[in-house]
């Protein structure tokens, strides 16, 4: 039995539909590849089975690469819910107590971050009261910050 163009089309659709039930985002591209092969056979009916399979493989792999190279960078995070680190990094706050000796400084943010608007901080550079600092890292319940003005001048 020769494979007709519509065999590929139906096969491709079945693969795409099965993506709904097996959400792995893998089968989807193979479905698209099968649709592409179906379209090609409709145009050029005299393709051998080997060539058809090879084309399917190539199409699927190319579509995968396309998705990751073109679409993935455009998928921005809509929310940082459940991503504590990402929610904290880059936020700027005001120094309300400078670090002295063993005592850590305290920085206040205009909006609460992770349920607290005051955090203790560590800073490598000297900071003054009222300086604006930016979060660079998190260490337990202490923030590692850097003065914001320095960063802009760099």
């Amino acid at each position: 039995m020769e494979l007709q163009y519509w065999h590929w089309l139906v096969f491709g659709m079945i693969l795409i539909i099965s993506e709904l039930f097996i959400p792995s985002f893998t089968i989807f591209w193979f479905g698209l590849g099968a649709l592409a092969v179906g379209g090609l056979i409709w145009l050029v009916p005299a393709l051998s089975l080997t060539l058809q399979l090879l084309l399917w493989t190539i199409f699927s792999a190319l579509l995968t690469a396309f998705w990751f190279l073109v679409m993935k960078p455009r998928m921005v995070d809509k929310t940082r819910a459940g991503m504590s680190r990402e929610a904290l990094l880059g936020e700027t706050g005001l120094v309300i107590r400078t670090p002295e000796g063993d005592r850590r400084g305290v920085v206040r943010f205009s909006k609460p971050l992770l349920g607290d608007d005051e955090w203790s901080f560590i800073c490598d550079e000297p900071v003054q009261l009222g300086d604006r600092v930016q979060i660079r890292d998190v260490s337990g319940n202490t923030l590692v910050v850097a003065p914001k003005t320095n960063k802009q001048s760099l």
């Binding site: 959400p23 792995s24 985002f25 893998t26 591209w29 193979f30 089975l49 080997t50 399979l53 090879l54 399917w56 493989t57 699927s60 792999a61 995968t64 990751f68 993935k72 998928m75 995070d77 929310t79 819910a81 459940g82 991503m83 504590s84 680190r85 990402e86 904290l88 992770l114 349920g115 607290d116 998190v138 260490s139 337990g140 319940n141 202490t142």
Partner: protein, 286 residues
Amino acid sequence: MFNPGLIVVAFLLLLVIITISMGVRIVPQGFKFVIQRLGKYHCTLAPGLNIIIPYMDTVAYKVTTKDIVMDIPSQEVITRDNAVIITNAVAYINIVSPEKAVYGVEDYRMAIQTLVQTSLRSIVGEMDLDDALSSRDRIKARLKETISDDISDWGIMLKTVEIQDINPSDTMQHAMEEQAAAERARRATVTRAEGDKSAAILQADGRLEASRRDAEAKVVLAEADREAIAKVAEATKGGELPLVFLLGQRYVDAMRKMAENNNSKVVVLPADLPAAVRGIMGTLGK
């Protein structure tokens, strides 16, 4: 039947399917995947569509980045003044750096639970019973402060810790109730004694006031008698007659009272009343 080209292409297709399905990783929101490349930590995948290099990279751990609610089981704690209290707590932790959490400690839940328990014990151990029972907020703040440094190596943040129950042990509770009852009994006794004292004072005051008025009344009565005698003397133009009159009047009154009394039915009235009065007066009548 099958030509070799077809078989090779079929296997190539299979290889591509397997490779792509191994390389694509969808990380759901609220999770992060820790990726190891050939057994070594490579990277942490953020939520969304990710691609890893098949055969080399493996998903070693799937870590939740949602807040984790941890129930700290209740434990007995001895305060500075040797009272036994039972406390339990609930802690909310959040994994900030999944790679530190999975590589830094064997079982972070167990580790933090133990840490909270021991810290709670040491903090309450520095307080007196009354302080411990009344200052939950202070315990909370100290607890957070103490633990946050210990867990920083594990990439975990202690968002909040709440003291759920802080109760004295059964024997302690019994003793405290007894103490409270005794205190109330003491207050009741004092109040009663104070009441008795006030009552006695008031009664004495009453008696004093009554005596004072009695005395005043006697004076008033005497005044009235004097005035009466004076008036009678004036009416009878001097002599002994007013005295006899008054005495006679009182004598008759006394006789009437004696007659009204149930005990003495026989009353002897002298026939000659002025003579009798004069007899009572004796020499006064001369």
